[in-house]
Symmetry: C2
DNA sequence: ACTGTGAACTTAACGGTGTTAACCTAAGGT
DNA sequence: ACCTTAGGTTAACACCGTTAAGTTCACAGT
């Protein structure tokens, strides 16, 4: 295994074990039996290293989402199962999810766009589902691609509130998640106005 | 002005000007013409100081939300105007919003609950609106308090995606926000099933 | 008037951080 | 036999949050 991979491995291990705020180049280096400066031979800086981890984690999440997709199911069912899979993944792998969304490298905006191609692909998949639902008069959406983004943003909000430990302790997480996903899906389904 | 207030003032100024990642106890102290250690006479540590800023900003946001509430309006209108006010506040005061939600002091969970009483009050206000809408058969909700939390989480997700610069650059922010608020509100309104 | 106390503040230091410059070493190609 | 290059090192810089110890000074009690 190359040192680069080794560094990625131990970084992820430390991140998952001790959380984002506790990792440092020196600790990573120590765990890889190397000096901190060696990391700079393989990564531009700390942000660059973190970004590589973000990429990995995004790939994981994408794999999970793609695997849960049942081509034969109805658009509504597909939306529901994707939502559940997303939330489930975040709940079961909170640190991994945090790697994706909580880590905020300074120069993310100017980071090479190709790297986020995978993210786009997921959106287009989602947009496709929404488009098909719209065509069948199941979904009340104007613009499937934009709605794909709002759907994801809504779900992310729900998840991040829990992971950020900002949910009122009086509210049971399970109930919160159930009602949240209900409301979110509901917001996409056509309103059948009374005759 | 007491040193405590002075510290809060310059901290906020630095935070709004240079962002969260750039502030340090030493810089704050320098700007307040004081040594870094003096800060520790008024705040337990850096997190404690940041938490004080979070409190202030929450109070601001709450004031804005309360001011936009029109007692006479219908529950649907109230929900819409609160949503718009929330999003508007976040867009116009992005750093202030980040202070509230992006700052994640380690010990937030064990922070004295009374301090977040204001947050509760807003939820209860929101829950009241939802309850009234439910009573009038306008809203399709099971549990107004929990739904108040999911509503807020969804909106927060939408806002945080923009502030985190994670929205695809092909999607215009205004359109994204419009469709997002539409979907969110839609998700709370009763489905009138056809006769 | 003298003393004591406590608050506000400082200096100096500890152990940590990301990052860079300079250097070393071994392998491979010419 | 020489040069280049990849992969690694040591030492250092400038910062960080935080603490222990010391200073100054206003004011209360006797």
């Amino acid at each position: 295994m190359s040192l680069r991979e080794e560094i990625l491995d131990v970084s992820k291990e430390l991140l998952l074990k001790h959380g984002f705020s506790k990792i440092s180049m020196r600790k990573i280096a120590k765990k890889a039996n190397v000096t901190a400066t060696s990391i700079y031979l393989h990564f531009k800086n700390k942000d660059d290293l973190l970004l590589a981890l973000v990429e990995e984690s995004i790939a994981n999440l994408n794999r999970v989402l793609r695997n849960t997709l049942d081509e034969a199911a109805s658009p509504i069912e597909q939306l529901e199962s994707l939502t559940d899979a997303y939330v489930g993944y975040a709940m079961e792998n909170p640190q991994e999810y945090e790697i994706i969304y909580m880590v905020r490298p300074e120069e993310m905006p100017k980071y090479p766009r190709e790297k986020f191609q995978q993210v786009r692909e997921i959106y287009e998949l989602l947009a496709g589902i929404i488009q098909r639902g719209k065509d069948r008069n199941l979904f009340d959406v104007e613009d499937p691609l934009v709605s794909a983004y709002t759907l994801w943003a809504q779900i992310h909000g729900v998840v991040s509130v829990i992971l950020g430990k900002r949910l009122d302790t009086r509210v049971p997480i399970e109930r919160f998640l159930d009602l949240a996903t209900d409301h979110i899906i509901q917001g996409f389904i056509v309103q059948k106005t009374p005759a």
